[in-house]
Amino acid sequence: MDYFEKILVLDGAFGTELVKRKAPMGKVPEELNITHPEIIKDVYQSYVDAGSDIIYSNTFSANAYKCKDSKYSPTEIVTAGIKLAREVADPKGVTVAMSIGTIGDILEPFGNLKFDEAYEMYKEMMTAGEKAGAQIIVLETQTDLLEVKAGVLAAKENTRLPVFVTMTFEKNARTFTGTSVEAMAVTLEALGVDAIGVNCSLGPEELLPMVRKMREYTTLPIVVKPNAGLPDPMTGEYSVGPEEFAKSMIPFLEMGVTFVGGCCGTAPEYIKELRKIVGNYKPIKVDNGKHSYLCSGRKVVDITKVHAVGERINPTGKKLFKEALLNHDIDYVKRQAIEQIEAGADILDVNVGIPTIDEPALMEEVVKELQSIVDTPLQIDSSDPLAIEAALRHYNGKALVNSVNGEDDVLDTILPIAHKYGAAVIGLTMNKDGIPSEYEKRVAIAGHIVEKCAQYGIEPKDIYIDCLTLTVSVQQKEAYETLKAITEVKKRYGVHTVLGVSNISFGLPKREFINTTFLTLAMSAGLDLAIINPNNAAMMGAIDAFLVLSGQDVGSTAYVERYAAIAAMEKEQKEKEKALKAALISTNSADGLHNIDTKSKDDANSICSFVKKGLADSTAGAVEALLTTMDPLDIVNNELIPALDEVGRSFEKGMLFLPQLLSSASAAEAGFNVIKRFLAKNNQDTISKGKIVMATVKGDVHDIGKNIVKTILENYGYTVIDLGKDVDPSAVVAAVKEHDVKLVGLSALMTTTVASMEETIKALREAGCDCKVMVGGAVLTPEFAMKIGADYYSKDAKQSADIANELFGV
């Protein structure tokens, strides 16, 4: 159907109409569809009579979660609601849209609701709705874009109905969960939704700027269903009357939206007034040009200038990264993400591919965890179509897929997946014959990729061609071929470009010179996305400087903002170092020593003192220095561990507190990391005193306590396999068996979840796991810990380390 032909009037509030008719409102008001059909029909009729073109069915909360205590199933309630609506609507040629609200539970990782569970609940409602005669599906009053995605996929995979989505925004143009207007628009248009818009929360006046913004980011028809102004906090009455409401809807009609109606506080009289004026206006279709947007649920990156893609989340050639993935250390990956964003990355490449690992499962988990703490869009990097699909399905936003090439079997596998989930895609200019030397041939492969993308419905603006970097010390002429290809593919096909640059300098000394210069040339040739290590200041500097010189950083504002502070900090740092050096020389020469004495525990500059003060950089520096003269294991056992012990004792005595304990642990960790890198470089096995599985038990989503314990244990040299929160007993058993673990730590915050703790311990015993279990958490006592079958009760993080030390005989 063409939604730009004429403006269509929706209905108004439903709940208040039920109250007016004195309907008995239970926990699930939709039960009235079955118990009091005459009242429901009467409300529908009142909106049909008022002039609605589309009425919403009374099915908003008829999902399995909210109906769990109901006598009726969601299918029964939905079927009744839709049938009644059709009975009223059909004679007048009015369309019935099926209204679907939020599930009511919170999606993981913040809550317990799994994406797939949300999908199933929506699916159940939608298939029943379609069967009963619904003509449109409307997901409304939504606040979490990821939950919306579950609903959209459920609709598209199981029904043939058009899908509308309206979300509820607050005054800051975000939903309560942080979804922004722009991110909603970009994500849902890419997902193939038929119309988007806003409903509830605010009145027409407050929603106007948000709808304006939405129009900038979408070509879709727009739905506007505001409240009748704002409620009075004392009486709950809404402030705007029917005529005034209709009048304040005019700016939306002028703007060219397609669907208008009302939410809380509105009634049939409001719709009648609205009906009177809509005939004077027509929907307007907007053309938003060639913008390519990538986004997370909260942040949109508009690819109109050069952006840095962080390449560090990738295990290739990184022993520690591989080990972290094998040990399920997702925090390690998160740390890499935070570090790169702080260094200036606008997009993060995510690659978790190592042999023997279940890549789709791990990819899904990493994507879920990353998007819970960062708002940077992700680039999904894998050669496994299943891993790509797992990532895209659970990704909140519009992602970039890395990558396809000129081979048809790859294109025919990956492109349908990218299109289905609305992702942009990277195309490498290579095929089974390898990378052509001449730029014309690379451009030709790009042409084939663009053609194939068109077949699958992917527009050129969402194609990122990688013209590929060859090593200049081996193939010198080819460096310029890459640059020429970048310029040509953009000109010829209207695509965007992407390039990983660091391969250019293999085999040459001082690689940074070559890399930064090549990057600068590539940007000048038209590069849009540079895949780099953002922690490399020279590479980031090249991008920032290019943006100034090419006039894209207007007024050099971003450059100054970034570098003025850094320059000042560097100066301060230098002065500090100078002062420190002077002080050292004077103290050391008094002792007749000329190096930093890292052994003397009382020395202000010993490792021990750095750890005690929580100084990570100083600890790392001191360990680095000591590695030239001392065995790595001796440093751990004679320096780092005793320092942590001392901090722990002070903590027990109440002389130090949690923040200090944790800062000291972080400082020790910085020292451990130096040693781990040293060992990895010298091909020695990394140090681990033993493996410990940690989990916050099923049902519990508060994991701050578990994370504190984990930090401390890791810094005593243990390998912690962190299973996260809300962990099923079977997952704990599986991890213990897989990693042959002798100690398990379980955490539970609430009395209600201690039962899951007991269940987990039982499951471990029943599975015959030969391991000890320590438990902790606010509501536990030593007596209770023993009662539920634990081997140890740990009152705090320090004690958990003592238990581990006792058990592993350290």
Binding site: I106, L658, Q660, N707
Partner: protein, 196 residues
């Protein structure tokens, strides 16, 4: 609501961290200052409240026209016979939770300080809301607040607290299936209304 953390809240922030007149290191001092800044930057304080008639029976306290039961003796004792009470919800928003989660990864020592700033702020916001309600209740004022999980009032009542004041739609406070609130730094409570 116009509210923010200031350096005057330091002692309260330290109290939640377990400090008692201990000497502070430079790092803690800096962290507290920076965490106060972060808190003020990311907080999104929202409040919602409603006045209810209440009555009592052998099982506990009855709220509103429908007489919904809040079971247990503790609340009955706490309300001390008043016939009116306010139920309210306060949150400092989900962006704050994300900031804590992020900091717990990159700098756990500072993460727990930020966490403590959040507790301080949500309690401060609840105090401010009670002050606002007292103003609106002209001649009356609200007593000490009481939340699900206190005394013998079961945590399961949280469901009713949230729905009775429409806290999900109006303040963004949601419940998971174990009756835990999201955003984490949220407070729901009931307080008796008494002559000022």
């Amino acid at each position: 609501m116009n509210i923010e953390l200031t350096i005057d809240d330091k002692s309260e922030i330290l109290r939640y961290l377990g400090f008692r007149n201990n000497e502070l290191t430079k790092k803690i001092e800096d962290d507290i200052e920076d965490c106060i800044r972060i808190t003020n930057e990311v907080m999104d304080v929202r409040t919602v409240w409603r006045l209810f008639d209440i009555s009592y029976n052998d099982e506990g306290t009855l709220v509103g026209d429908m007489g919904v039961l809040l079971p247990g003796k503790s609340l009955v004792k706490h309300l001390d016979g008043t016939k009116k009470a306010v139920m309210f919800g306060v949150t400092i928003g989900s962006a704050f939770d994300e900031a804590v989660n992020k900091l717990m990864i990159s700098d756990p020592g500072k993460g727990v300080v930020l966490n403590s700033c959040g507790i301080t702020l949500v309690e401060k916001a609840a105090d401010a809301l009670q002050f606002e309600m007292d103003e609106s209740l002209k001649g009356y004022k609200t007593g000490v607040r009481f939340s699900p999980g206190y005394g013998d009032l079961p945590l399961d009542c949280q469901d009713f607290f949230i729905s009775s004041i429409d806290a999900t739609r109006r303040a963004g406070i949601r419940l998971n299936r174990n009756m835990l609130m999201n955003p984490v730094k949220s407070v729901t409570a009931i307080a008796g209304v008494y002559k000022a």
